[in-house]
């Protein structure tokens, strides 16, 4: 009976278009959207060539400013794209946002910008540095040695021996979006769980009425139905993994065994959550689906789906919320595999998911056991 019900529940699940959409199609659609939206985000954060203007003045000609800006506007990826002009034209360009700012070197140096921002700050930093270099050279008591000291120091400080970069390699924060996608898929598995339980509840469906009067142990029917929905959910998850790894090139870390373990437990958490919703709420299937989707979206929002920094903000200011948030347990599990060398944080999330699933199962059992109906 167990295998019979398992086989037919699987058939029913795969023939339900709405369930197929949520389990298979929606995560892939969303993953594609993520990939389109985040394709350039980290590239655009890097410093691009700045368009600036320099006013031609006698003080600028043959000065340290001219040499420095000339050097900074050369090469494969120059810092500045410089236009030399008069002040009136520069103001026009600035107002039309053709340049980020312009520089006038007269008795003193002056920068004019349209508005604050990183581009204006970079321009100011460069001009400050030239001004400070001039000051440094002036402060040397023996002026004939000033330039020698300067070049000696410059070569030393810019060498890697003075500043050593020890940043970890995996710093791509857009990965979080794709991890929340996996979390969302796991939690949407709850719709499958809810559906199969509804099919076995006498007060929810005609099928449930027939099941409840059959002389078969209810636990056998429910377990086989739940197992079928778990299998369907895992098939959806495998397809999503294949899509994200092969087409979107998402990095889940090197330990695939742990990725598999996390996915199994994440799916179980989603499934048991759906079963609990089906068992607790005495409302129609549509409302139950609405509750599962609203809860899932809220959890995914808090774990960074609609803005990556949200996960960090919640983790930092109200960590308890994300400690209880199943979507964050899954997202954080993948994040710890990707970013950290140690597994303490990963196992904390694994245990949290197991506890969450256990609580959901207990709630469902308490609610589902020994149900009797005088009339329906």
């Amino acid at each position: 009976m167990f295998t019979h019900n398992l086989k037919y529940t699987l058939k029913i699940l795969f023939k339900n278009k709405i369930l197929i959409f949520w389990t298979f199609a929606f995560p892939i659609i969303l993953g594609t959207l993520f990939n389109m939206a985040f394709a350039d985000i980290e590239k655009n954060e890097q410093l691009n060539t700045l368009d600036i203007a320099i006013i031609k003045t006698n003080e600028f000609k043959d000065s340290l400013y001219e040499t420095t800006f000339k050097n900074l506007s050369q090469g494969d990826k120059p810092m500045f794209n410089i236009k030399y002009t008069d002040e009136q034209t520069a103001i026009e360009w600035l107002q039309n946002k053709e340049i980020s700012g312009y520089l006038i070197v007269e008795e003193d140096e002056r920068i004019v910008i349209n508005q604050n921002g990183i581009e204006a700050t970079i321009l100011k930093q460069v001009v400050d540095e030239i001004k400070q270099t001039k000051k440094m050279l002036q402060n040397v008591p023996n002026q004939s040695q000033a330039k020698d000291i300067y070049f000696k120091v410059m070569n030393n400080v810019e060498s890697p021996s003075n500043i050593k970069n020890i940043t970890r390699a995996n710093l791509s924060y857009t990965m979080i979006e794709f991890y929340t996608l996996i979390a969302m898929t796991c939690l949407y598995g709850g719709i499958l769980g809810m559906y199969v339980v509804n099919q076995n509840l006498a007060n929810m469906s005609s099928n449930g009425k027939r099941v409840s009067i059959t002389p078969i142990k209810k636990i056998k029917i429910i377990l086989s139905s739940v197992l079928a929905s778990y299998i369907a959910q895992l098939i959806g998850l495998v397809l999503l993994f294949l899509y994200t790894v092969c087409f979107l090139k998402i990095d889940y870390g090197d330990n695939w065994l742990l990725v598999f373990l996390l996915s199994l437990l994440g799916s179980l958490a989603g499934l048991t959550f759906g079963i609990a919703i089906a068992a607790i709420f005495r409302t129609n299937e549509n409302n139950k689906t609405g509750i599962i989707i609203a809860f899932t979206m809220l959890c995914c929002f808090l774990s960074g789906m609609m803005g990556i920094s949200m996960k960090y903000i919640v983790d930092k200011h109200t960590p308890i919320i994300n400690k209880l948030n199943p979507a964050n347990m899954i997202t954080d599990g993948f994040y710890s595999l990707y970013y950290y060398d140690t597994l303490d944080r990963f196992y904390f999330n694994i245990i949290s998911l197991a506890i969450f699933s256990l609580i959901m199962i207990t709630i469902s059992l308490l609610s589902l056991r020994r149900q009797k109906y005088d009339s329906i």
Binding site: I41, K135, N139, S161
Partner: protein, 380 residues
């Protein structure tokens, strides 16, 4: 009136999911706002820097920390949270000052400073500051061995800064916050309106009710018009709630011309969303499919049109694609309002063009709805 009364009855019947959904969306909108400082004078962008000082806080070490503090937002983060802070860009640059740094520097041992950094421009800025300090310090170390003299010379040199004039009088930081809020409402309006309106219309699409409506004397266009106006009640209530929240959060900006423009733009967009929701409600006959449609359209438009990811960061092919979605024109207008310096004819032209584009989408949705309704007049 009969249509409107029925609409209110259906709305009342669906009040639980409506309240739940609206509260969640309001929560999303409010929670998403980020804070920053306001200014119309030059304020240099400052990276977030964390200093882990393993040396004594004296002499040249203390002076280095003071300089970094002056040129960055110095962060205090627990040791076990440092790596998370770097990953999520809460910190752009981490400087590890080694043990005995001061001693090694003064004894010409050329100490190494370890750093961790993100790959963005704020980290480059922090690195520029650190390198500059190290250069200046190393330079003065070559001409003097007296620590106090070196520190005085360093500070005297680094105090030399260039005068910066800002010509725009727009408070860009305040406007950025309001723009970010209204851009996010794109998702809230789409998800809220489509979900609720489709839910209500689905009740009107019950086969028996449809048959009764078809044989009644009420013209399908009139019926659609009544239904659309009834639904507008909910849509504009939702719009009003978001406007009220924006007024509470950004009182000063919202009672300026900029604020009125944001309100007008969001009102026009809400009208467009209303017609889109009405079209989807008429297209879809399955109540169970509503959730799927809501999520695909609301999340899809938000990701592709710059609601969640700034327009500047989107790839060019995505921006080209986004031109075919009303959300793009709504968000583009919000972004444009932020950059307005003076209100002239050119500015008005751009604003009107964008608003007309949104309204054109609305008209298109109404026309398609009527065509579909006409085709569905015959059953069986």
């Amino acid at each position: 009136m009969i249509v409107f009364k029925t609409f209110l009855k259906v709305l009342n019947k669906c009040k639980m999911p409506i309240i739940l959904y609206t509260i969640i969306l309001l929560f999303f909108g409010v929670f998403n706002i980020k804070s920053s400082d306001n200014s119309t004078n030059f304020v240099g962008s400052k990276p977030n820097v964390l200093i882990v000082n393993n040396d004594c806080n004296e002499g040249i070490t203390s002076n280095l920390i003071a300089y970094i503090e002056k040129n960055s937002h110095l962060k205090a983060i627990k040791e076990d949270a440092i790596d998370d802070a770097l990953f999520y860009r809460d910190v752009n640059y981490i400087i590890y000052i080694p043990y005995n740094y001061r001693h090694d520097f003064l004894n010409n041992q050329n100490p190494t400073i370890e750093i961790k950094r993100t790959s963005d421009y704020l980290a480059s800025l922090a690195e520029l500051n650190l390198e500059r300090y190290l250069k200046v310090a190393a330079f003065y170390k070559e001409i003097s061995n007296d620590e106090n003299k070196i520190i005085n010379l360093i500070n005297d040199t680094l105090e030399n800064e260039t005068e910066v004039t800002v010509i725009s009088k727009v408070d860009i930081d305040s406007l950025t916050k309001v723009t970010s809020y209204y851009n996010f409402t794109n998702y809230c309006f789409l998800a809220g309106c489509i979900y609720i309106i489709c839910l209500v219309i689905a009740s009107f699409k019950n086969e028996k009710i449809v048959k009764r409506t078809i044989i009644s004397s009420l013209d399908y266009k009139k019926h659609n018009r009544y239904l659309l106006f009834s639904n507008s009640l909910f849509a504009f209530c939702l719009w009003f709630m978001y406007v009220i929240i924006s007024i509470i959060l950004f009182k000063q900006t919202m009672f300026s011309l900029y604020g009125y423009l944001y309100m007008i733009n969001s009102f026009v967009f809400t009208s467009c969303v209303l017609t889109l929701a009405f079209l989807i409600g008429n297209l879809s006959r399955n109540k169970n499919a509503i959730n799927g449609i809501v999520n695909v359209i609301a999340l899809g438009s938000s990701f592709l049109c710059g609601s969640f990811v700034p327009l500047d960061y989107l790839p060019s092919f995505v921006i080209k694609l986004a031109h075919f979605l009303p959300s793009f024109w709504y968000i583009k207008t919000n972004e444009f309002i932020k950059t307005i310096d003076t209100f002239n004819l050119e500015v008005v032209k751009i604003l009107v063009f964008n608003l007309i584009m949104t309204l054109l989408f609305a008209s298109l949705f109404v026309i398609i709805t009527n065509i579909i309704s006409k085709k569905r007049q015959t059953i069986g």
